[in-house]
Symmetry: C2
Subunit: 340 residues, 2 copies
């Protein structure tokens, strides 16, 4: 079951419930979590509710579910995962509160000190780029970037099925020596890890495939599978992608509206345009995954509508089916804990 916070997000609970129904019909087992009294009469047929009376608002502190509201739905979803009643947790609520709750309730996988948020971005070559951290950890030491690299590698292998993911460090230039201080240090550590693993038996396929510094343009063209950065930079990059898609669509629209014949042609193109918007709308990605906590935890977009909620649920379900957590534990255990 995927435990879903029915009261997380700007459009909760109605859009959340509609999204749950959508995913349920697509074969995703959903368990609703929230105030059963408020939900009475609204719960779609076939879904059940775990009662959790409190709601954490978007303006409350991230620590609210830990201190003031231990009975909040945004915390309860992770307790269900911890207690084995759910295999993953999804919320579109307060992302800080979600991260704090997940970490508090589930703890992190031994070897991971700062779990990052990860998501996938479509690449020009048709592949998918795993980008992490998206904002969970703003000031990161080089050792933390190394953890992100190992976690991103595990994600790309388990969920995206990439045999030997190319792992790059996001930087302002590809040459060694480019990057800020923590990037330069992380390069050293990742290079050592890659070399060490390549020298082990079978290392050529199982080892970390560190490809050095990668610039955003190269990453979006497809030169790596996993792109590692601190949460400040990753957040800037992800939101710049979103913003640019918006600006580009607007400029294109303005140019098309200049002439009547262009407007006609654009009308003819509406099918292609709709497919384009579907591929570039981040609702389809499903949200961000909190990697490295001891369970599958997905944080959806605060403005998620039913379609985006369903997408987040499918995303979580996919991680469960791919045995992501086992893969993460194996990789982290081998690379960050027991390294000889």
């Amino acid at each position: 079951m995927i435990a879903l916070d029915a009261f997380g997000g700007d459009r909760a609970p109605d859009e959340i419930l509609a999204g749950a129904l959508l995913a349920h019909r697509q074969g995703v087992p959903v368990l609703l979590v929230g105030n059963a009294d408020t939900l009475r009469g609204k719960v779609p047929h076939g879904l059940t509710v775990v009662h959790s009376p409190d709601v954490v608002g978007m303006d409350e502190a991230a620590t609210t579910p830990l201190r003031k509201k231990p009975d909040s739905s945004i915390r309860r979803i992770f307790e269900l995962v911890r207690d084995g009643q759910a295999s993953a947790a999804v919320t579109c609520g307060h992302s800080g509160a979600a991260m704090a709750s997940a970490l508090h309730v589930l703890g992190s996988v031994p070897g991971v000190t700062r779990p990052p948020l990860a998501t996938v971005v479509p690449r020009k070559d048709g592949g998918q780029l795993v980008l992490l951290d998206l904002g969970a950890n703003v000031d990161c030491k080089a050792e933390v970037l190394v953890q992100f690299a190992v976690l991103g590698d595990a994600y790309a292998r388990a969920v995206l099925g990439v045999a030997r993911p190319r792992v790059g460090l996001l930087a302002n230039g590809e040459e060694k020596g480019k990057g800020n201080e923590q990037v330069r240090q992380a390069w050293q550590l990742l290079e050592q890890m890659g070399n060490r693993e390549a020298s082990l038996p079978g290392g050529s396929s199982a080892g970390l495939n560190f490809v050095g510094n990668i610039e955003p343009l190269s990453a979006l063209r497809g030169e790596c599978d996993v792109l590692v950065c601190d949460g400040f930079v990753g957040n800037v990059m992800l939101k710049t992608v979103e913003g640019t898609v918006e600006v580009v669509a607007r400029i294109l629209k303005e140019e098309i509206l200049r002439r009547g014949s262009d407007r006609f042609a654009a009308w003819l193109l509406s099918g292609a345009w709709r497919r384009f918007r579907q591929r570039t709308t981040y609702d389809n990605v499903g949200g961000a995954l909190l990697l490295g906590v001891n369970g599958i935890a997905v944080v959806g977009h605060g403005r998620a509508d039913a379609r985006a909620v369903a997408s987040a649920l499918r995303f979580a379900h996919g991680c469960v089916q791919a045995s992501l957590l086992a893969q993460v534990k194996a990789q982290v255990g081998q690379r960050l804990v027991n390294r000889g």
Copy 2:
């Protein structure tokens, strides 16, 4: 005159000369700088050459024009500005060497310790966003971000004609307290500066209009005029914009090619598409301006073709005509040097 490095850039000297001619015909006074022997017979009618025999290759060290090749064109252009024979310098060559030469030859305006690279990015609302630093200074203290804010403000006033530019700090969230350590410190310093200036006579129009943290999406939508960040983050943001435009254009093309009727409609739309590409191609911006050095110094794109070179020359010419340097000196003198 605008001194142009005839041997800077991947397509030098042919595309550089063609760009010089283009700008010359548009009324920009251009002075070519480079090896006169190599250029013999190639110089367009109406243009003159200042002889400077050496060329700095893209694979050489940034300090080459300072140490090994003092007679290189990439250094000579700045000497012409220093000596009053040119009012601005433009190169599409090695950007590190250009910055090192500009700083070495021209020095920085008193009060500026780390001159940033700045450019403009088109916003969704039709306005222009001044983004700085783009990579000149990778690890920046808060005080350096404050310098960038003052310089960006001066640029937006002088060149873009914005009466009271809204200056924001690029961050991963708009609330105070968001951002990494240097952003949080810079917020304090910029808030103090804004408050102090607002309390002066006439402060409401002349004072720094600090609007706090700004996320990339909001900035691209038009919520600020100047966006301040360190060179690592700014470089990531700028290259992410470029990369996303490329990915978006590719995805749109793929969807259009799926159906014959879409291909026909797209053919009808080719005019709108061409205008769209013109507006989203960064060749039209003209390059990056090294703000805070004691002269106008423009670094164009290494892959610049004739059109991009002409655009960089017009950009430099515009900065001269707007008396940018005087504005920069006045603002920096008032805000960073003589502040009471």
